[in-house]
Each structure stands twice: as structure tokens, then as C-alpha cells.
Amino acid sequence: MSNENKRAGAQKSSGLNTEALKDLLFRVADDSLILAHRHSEWTGFGPLLEEDIAFSSIAQDKMGHANALFKILHEKLGEPNADAIAFGRTEDQFKCCQFVELPNGGYDFSLVRHFLFDASELIRWQFLQQSSFEPLAKLAAKIQGEVKYHVYHAQTWLVQLGAQGNEESRILMQTALDKAWPYALGIFEHGAAEGALIADGVFVGEDVLQSAWLEFVTERCAAAHLTIPTNTTAVLGGRKGYHTEHLKPLLDEMNEVFRIDPSAEW
């Protein structure tokens, strides 16, 4: 990059609404961190060895995405280091949607959540490749292959159990989809400063994301012989720090080592 371009880039990011940007990064990072933790609870309990490995690996990828976002918050936006952000915040300071904090339930619910959430993640990162905030655009380009595989994994299972399994597996998946749907809509709850993010060219916004996602999951669910529920209301609140009763026990477990020794290396 030439010096001239570098200056232009610096001017661009210094002109961004920093609070809006941080809010977006926390929302995306917290979703990844909490869902990574939920996914990791399946490690050792997966329905077959190969799937146990794949799902655990996906959990690790998500933890990596959260870590990369926390690093940006620390290095570019003046927040404390990644461990302190991940383990040092209280429940009400988390910006994750309530969808990711729900307990795993059975493998049916975990897979449906994996599919619905990761589809939104894939499209979100595709949009973020065009972000005016360069560190985010670079990260988006770097991890696109990982999120592509996550969706490939999820939708293959969805079709397998929905369309190619038996009636029992299809009903289980449909029931899980019905339960997950209102929470999935909560992914797209607006952040604290949605307008500023759009105006600054940081992100296209949750509404654009939601309609792209709806089109994507409608097509995939049809291929899996699953019906998308209608007349449902989105479960909101997570983006503002209001959470289900399930988040606190999760954080308590996740922060156990950090609370004993914040400087522990592990």
C-alpha cells in the first residue's frame, strides 16, 4: 500500500463512529464466543466419532473468530485484552443474541441452531468483506472458507435428517426448527447505532442481512422438506444486554479458570 493510500485509510477509520463500530464487533464476537462454548459442550458426546470431531473443530473455529474480533477491539479500539473482554465481563455486558445462549438440548436443536445461525454468519461476513473498517474487511476475507464449511456441514445434516432420513428424524428437525425460529429472528435485533454503521459503510445493517438470510434459509429448508414457521415474533433483548437465565451459568463455567488466576496461561 502506498503512503497516500495508508493516509486515506487512516482518515477513513478515524472518521468512523467508534461506539457504533465497537457495538457491532461486540455483538458478532459475543455470538461467536457463546455459540462456540455451547458447541464445545458436545465434545465427547457427539452422535458419532467423525461428527464429534467435526463439531468440535467448528467450535474451535468460532472461538478463533471471537478471539480475532476481541484482538481488533483491543489493538485498534482501545478495549482491554482478549482474555479480559471474554472472561471479565458480567452477563449484562454481553451483546450476544439469546439464540446462542440457549442450552444445546438434543442434537436436533443443536444442528438446527447451527444451520440457522451459521447461515446468518456466512452472509454477514460476506457483507463485511466490503466494510470500510479495514481490519474487519481483512478478517472477513481470511475466515470466509471456515464459515463456508460450517454452513456446508450444517445444511448437509439438515437435508440428511429432513429429506433423506425417516419420518421420525424429519419431525424432530421440524420441531427443533419451530422452537428455534423466534430466537433466530432475534439475531437481527438492531445494534445501538445501526444508522451510523450503515452511513459509515461499516456494515449494510441487520435488515438487509435478515432478508438475504431469509431467502437463503427458505431455499435450504425446502430442500430439507422442512417448513418455516409463520406468525412468529422475534425474541429480542440480547443486543441490549438482556439475557435468558441460561447465560449466567455458562459464563460462570467459562470464566472458572480466569477467576482463579487472571494471568493463567492455558
Binding site: 458419532l48 467423525e50 467448528i58 445434516w157 433423506q164
Partner: protein, 131 residues
């Protein structure tokens, strides 16, 4: 009644009562999915090398599962999966068809006596250019 103690602390934490009525039985046959053989390619253009197998209900699922089972460490450019049943192989008792192969050194590269010829040729070339 005794509580189930597992090597996994998460299981132990659940405080599951061990039921003396329940005894563990061997799993029935064909309890698992069929297998697919996995071939891993480390570089574009390189051979695909057999690395193991995965259990899966069909080829699509096998590919999805093989990606993480065999492609999550080190460099990977592609993976093939092949239904184990699609591989035709010799019967173990027919391995005698290969028995005399090690004796046939003349079929091995190291047995080709061309080195002397190559060196002679190089020498002649050098002499030629010096002239």
C-alpha cells in the same frame, strides 16, 4: 445407590444414579453407518493418498465428515471419498501372486545399469566442448 463416576467430569457432575438393573450389552451388528475410504491431497496436482475411513450414511455426509477428520491439520487442497464396497481387492489368501516379485531386481529402477553410460556420455560431451 452408587453414583456413576466417569472419566469425564461433566458426566460425574450430573450425579446419575447407577441402576443395578441395567447391565451393558454388546452393540448389535450393523449398528453403525457404512464406511467410506478417504483420500487426501496435500498440494494441487499431487497424488491423493489414502489416509483412513469415515462412517457415514452416504457419500455427501462422508465428504463433510472427512473434511474435519482428515483435513483439519496440515495443508489440504482436496479430499476424495469412495464407498469402501466400491474398492476391488485381492483376497488375503491370494497374496502368493506377489511372492516372487522381490526377486525381480531387474524391474527396479536401481537395477538399471545406465549410470555408467550417462557418465561416459557426459565425459564425451565435455571433451567435445573443450575441442
Amino acid at each position: 445407590m452408587a453414583i456413576i463416576v466417569s472419566l469425564d467430569p461433566r458426566v460425574t457432575r450430573l450425579q446419575i444414579q447407577a441402576d443395578p438393573e441395567i447391565t451393558s450389552e454388546p452393540k448389535p451388528d450393523l449398528d453403525q453407518f457404512q464406511t467410506y475410504e478417504v483420500f487426501h491431497q496435500a498440494k494441487s496436482g499431487a497424488h491423493h493418498t489414502h489416509v483412513g475411513c469415515v462412517h457415514a450414511p452416504n457419500a455427501e455426509m462422508a465428504l463433510v465428515l472427512a473434511k474435519e477428520t482428515y483435513g483439519r491439520r496440515g495443508q489440504t487442497t482436496n479430499i476424495w471419498v469412495v464407498d469402501t464396497g466400491a474398492i476391488l481387492t485381492m483376497r488375503a489368501e491370494d497374496s502368493d501372486v506377489f511372492e516372487t516379485t522381490p526377486d525381480k531386481k531387474y524391474r527396479e529402477v536401481s537395477a538399471y545399469m545406465v549410470r555408467n553410460k550417462v557418465e561416459d556420455y557426459k565425459k564425451r560431451q565435455q571433451l567435445g566442448t573443450k575441442k
